[in-house]
């Protein structure tokens, strides 16, 4: 082989091989990662920033997490300022213009659902409220299905070649969630009231008609005072509250004290679980319902 031919061959070998790469999706929370895995299927790779058991408000913004964002084609967040304490700094470190808020690669689940709990005239005397609404929407399977369909549309925009695949998976997932929700709802007629630590379960409790009559936090993000604890214990006893729901990262001295004084059992209600794809997400909702029913 002549020198020229060898040189050309070497140059061709040095050129990067152009192959069809999977879409890189980064989800902020584990449940969002499960929804993204369901919709993306084999056409996308999903990374999740927060760990199971981590408080979604306060994920440490380790710059090492930004390495996933640097390569992302789409960033999927809950929205409504849930991640505002840590996500913006990671987006800055990642230096990926595609996923900045407002760009085509930035998708907030809350932007496509009916939001509960939006308040006008909010200030911090009301605690660490989310003025645009309660961000914990992923615990409602119906809203999860709506977001899945909208996510599929967004992925189809970014990756038109697999658009039909995304939409079909999302439609099948949504259909299954609707069927399961109807079955789940039949379990909870005339549910007894519960008290929760933080207002994490609003969408879940309203979907399944489980009344939440009070909160261990007097205001979001504010530790309970003795006076508030006294008042809450009395109310728990008086109104026959059957369970105290607590996020795993809030199980501590205060929650245990209320359970001890009121006699109501303390039930850790995770907002995330291990598991992947549709099965993981459905297992999360099913687990919450089993805990809520006392199973």
């Amino acid at each position: 082989m002549t020198f020229l031919k060898r040189s050309i061959l070497v140059l061709l070998l040095l050129f990067p091989v152009i192959s069809h790469a999977e879409l890189q999706i980064v989800a902020t929370l584990p449940a969002l990662g499960q929804i993204a895995e369901t919709v993306a299927g084999e056409d996308g790779e999903v990374k999740v920033l927060a760990r199971v058991g981590q408080d979604p408000h306060f994920v440490p913004p380790k710059p090492t997490l930004a390495r996933h964002l640097a390569r992302a084609d789409l960033l999927f967040s809950a929205g409504l300022a849930l991640e505002s304490g840590w996500l913006p700094s990671l987006i800055e470190v990642a230096r990926n213009q595609t996923i900045r808020p407002g760009a085509s690669g930035y998708f907030e689940g809350a932007s496509v659902i009916d939001v509960l709990g939006a308040k006008a005239g909010v200030d911090r005397s009301m605690g660490d409220v989310h003025p645009e609404g309660n961000p914990h929407w992923w615990l409602d399977p119906i809203r999860g299905s709506q977001v899945a369909i909208a996510l599929a549309d967004r992925l189809a925009t970014i990756d038109p070649a697999n658009g039909d695949n995304y939409r079909q998976r999302a439609a099948a997932f949504a259909s299954r969630l609707h069927e399961m929700t109807a079955a789940w709802k039949s379990r909870f007629s005339n549910a007894s009231p519960v008290v929760s630590y933080h207002e994490s379960y609003r969408y879940f409790s309203e979907r399944f008609a489980i009344p939440v009559i009070g909160f261990i936090e007097p205001k979001p993000g504010v530790e309970a005072s003795p006076a508030h604890l006294d008042s809450l214990v009395s109310r728990v006893k008086a109104e026959g509250v059957r369970q105290l729901w607590v996020e795993p990262y809030h199980v501590g001295r205060v929650a245990k004290r209320i359970a001890q004084l009121s006699g109501a059992p303390l039930i850790p209600m995770p907002d995330a679980n291990e598991g992947h794809g549709s099965e993981g997400y459905i297992q999360l909702i099913d687990m919450l319902l089993q805990k809520a029913s006392g199973d």
Partner: protein, 416 residues
Amino acid sequence: MKHALKRAVFAAAILVSSNAYAASELEALKNQVQQLMDRIEQLETTNKEAPVAASQAENTEEAAASASSNEVRKSARTATAENSGNPSISVIGNFTGQRIRGDGGVRSSSFLPLSEAEFIFGANIDSHARLDVTVTAANGGMAVEEGFITAYLPWGVNLRAGRKFLPVGRVNEMHPHVLIYADRPNGLVNLFGPEIFIGDGVLLDKPIFIGDSVQTLTSGFFSTENDVAFDPTGSAQYAALARWTGLWDIGDSATFELGANYVQGKNGIATTGSMTRIGGGHFAIKHQNLAHAGFSLEGEWLRRWQEQGTGVSTAINDGSYLLATVSLNRNWHLFSRFDYSREYVPATAGWLKESAISAGLVWTFSEFQSFTLQYKHTRNALAEVAGDLGIAAGGNANAWYLRWVVAIGPHGAHPY
């Protein structure tokens, strides 16, 4: 023959008729299959619309409520964070009282004065750049403490131009209210004075993601009026800096950080082009579990060589600290810090050494309010620290600090 022919015709007739029958059957089957396929297609289309229709039917009441909810969302969104019309505006109030008792009967105290108020403005200029400005009110005056443009260049490079806390060591770049302690480490005071080491210039930085780590390279060119590390008259001097920081994940709950930096520039002390050089490194190990309990150990060491001119010995100063913190949960934290500084004395070819030990308790009442109580004992204070404490050089002092930090407005996340 006749019978065979009849049989053949009969067989052929049967065959033909059966074929015809089969053909018609086949045709019928084909039609049925086509109808089934059409029906499947129809059902698939209906299934796609059904969840949306069902959710719309199910959420009729929510939809009615959400119309007003969306209006509230719009008004809330315009009132929070930065938006197309306004920058994010936050105000940090740093109320720090202190009680100092030192050698020679030195006594000073103050009770929670507004030591410093920071007015922080920030917004994207456009898709290519951002402006951040911090105006600080302290000691009866106001000044732009930081004001810089961040331009998003290709290949993940950021260019920051303007006035900036310089990325030298680990904490110089951080706003004081971010730090767990209420004072400034003695080592940094001895090297740069009681104020933060600030420069006006241009910085370039780029993160490089390698495996489970991020390596950040920073370089810059700036002018500074720092009258401790550079020209004592406070005239502007030009310098350059280079910095590397590496951050590694150690499992899910811990990180390890290592860094090094170098600064060099003319210090204006002598007409012979005397230079100041600053070099050093830092490290940090952090661990935090899911309940926000954890610990961290961090430290930095910097050395400053300050040429004084031809025939005059170079002034050499070391400044360092080692900080340990324990977080009991999200609200309660303990810390202890050891400060160590030394100054080379050419006349004796020896070193003057200063040390200090601090301990403190922090109560983070909420994301926007915290209290710090700190005790610090300083021994053999070097000149800058002595001046800051109001004691004579070489003296000892005990200091108590009480700091109350509050924040209003949409304040961004603090650095990790």
